[in-house]
Symmetry: C2
Subunit: 186 residues, 2 copies
DNA sequence: CGCCGAGTTGAACTGAATCAAGAAACGTGG
DNA sequence: CCACGTTTCTTGATTCAGTTCAACTCGGCG
């Protein structure tokens, strides 16, 4: 889940105040586990500084589902919305400070403030569109194209995250990614 | 885009009335093109009877992106939300009657009726979760598993739609799908 | 220095794509 | 109701992108 700076909805002062009041800022050291599999993830993390990674274990392998950096949200998406135990882990890629917004608070603010609910809708809509694009990519692009797309969207990703995670995010193996990078280096 | 019968939000009478008033029901014969590439798709189609298929042309090949049947929505998702020309065609799989809801009307009702906006949010959220599952499927499942998943979700799909469209929806070739079906027939 | 995690490289293997041809089903008009 | 063309589906042979498994390199760090 992700929020673009295109978000054009202004929240009223009182809403911002209420938000600030019911919000906690937490700092996680690099490598910390923020959410564990099996937990109910009933909060959103809005990242102020650093980065978080959502992943899950598939047959013992670590599969990255989502990266989030400054100004973006993460949560365990199905756990949050369906109120089921999380299949995901979320960990800090680097030392990270994040605003923690619990679902209760969000639902409360949505009920009180029209604008807040509209903002929610916008964020969910953007996420939906993002996922839709990812599907097109997965369906038709070669490993090479997938990697290059990622680079255009997040040029700095290779500095921040080890290749294994990038590979699993793209749905390819580490070895394939390594070969791709070799080719484009020439 | 899809609406589950789990949708638990009640719309007030007045909202339903307003909705009914600004809504048109159209009937499309089998094979009719409902939306054409390049058009602005600024409406939602809610299917009463029959089925619609969203597809696009990728290097001249017909690629199915979405099926929708009774009680479900379709639109050209990026065109609708981003107000850009549609990359998709939408066609009637069978003779189909559908409610046509224009974006204007929807936005108007959302502004007036809280419940309507909540319903929108719910639908978008469900669609987002659905897409997320599709991504997991595309990333890790074999052609065989993808097909079997589809069958559990839409057991009747093979009666309604030719295999080519099912194949492109799953991101596999017609030939592969045929072979899969042969194996499971034994 | 030597270990360890991260990345690279190579070789063999495999699931699915592609290309090509034929069989079934289906509809339409005579 | 049958003949014919079209569309849909099946089958086979070949090729290819990407996986798997295994060994090797490199850079840090106790």
């Amino acid at each position: 889940m992700r929020i673009d700076n295109s978000s054009s909805i202004d929240l009223p002062q009182s809403c911002l105040a209420a938000l600030a009041e019911s919000t906690v800022t937490l700092t996680f050291p690099k490598g910390a586990t923020v959410v564990r599999e099996g937990q109910y993830c009933n909060q959103l993390f809005f990242i102020g500084q650093g980065g978080l990674r959502a992943y899950y274990l598939k047959d013992g392998r670590d599969i990255t589902d989502w990266f989030a950096f400054e100004g973006e949200f993460v949560c365990s998406i199905r756990s949050y919305f369906l109120k089921i135990p999380s299949e995901h882990y979320i960990e800090a890629i680097e030392s990270t400070t994040a605003l923690v917004l619990s679902k209760n608070v969000i639902d409360g603010l949505s009920a009180t403030y029209r604008a807040f609910e509209q903002l929610s809708l916008q964020i969910v809509t953007e996420t939906m569109l993002h996922l839709q694009q990812q599907i097109v990519s997965l369906k038709f692009e070669t490993a090479q194209q997938k990697y290059q797309n990622l680079l255009t969207v997040r040029p700095d990703i290779t500095q921040k995250v080890p290749l294994t995670h990038i590979a699993s995010y793209l749905g390819i193996t580490l070895e394939t990614l390594s070969r791709i990078r070799k080719k484009s280096r020439i």
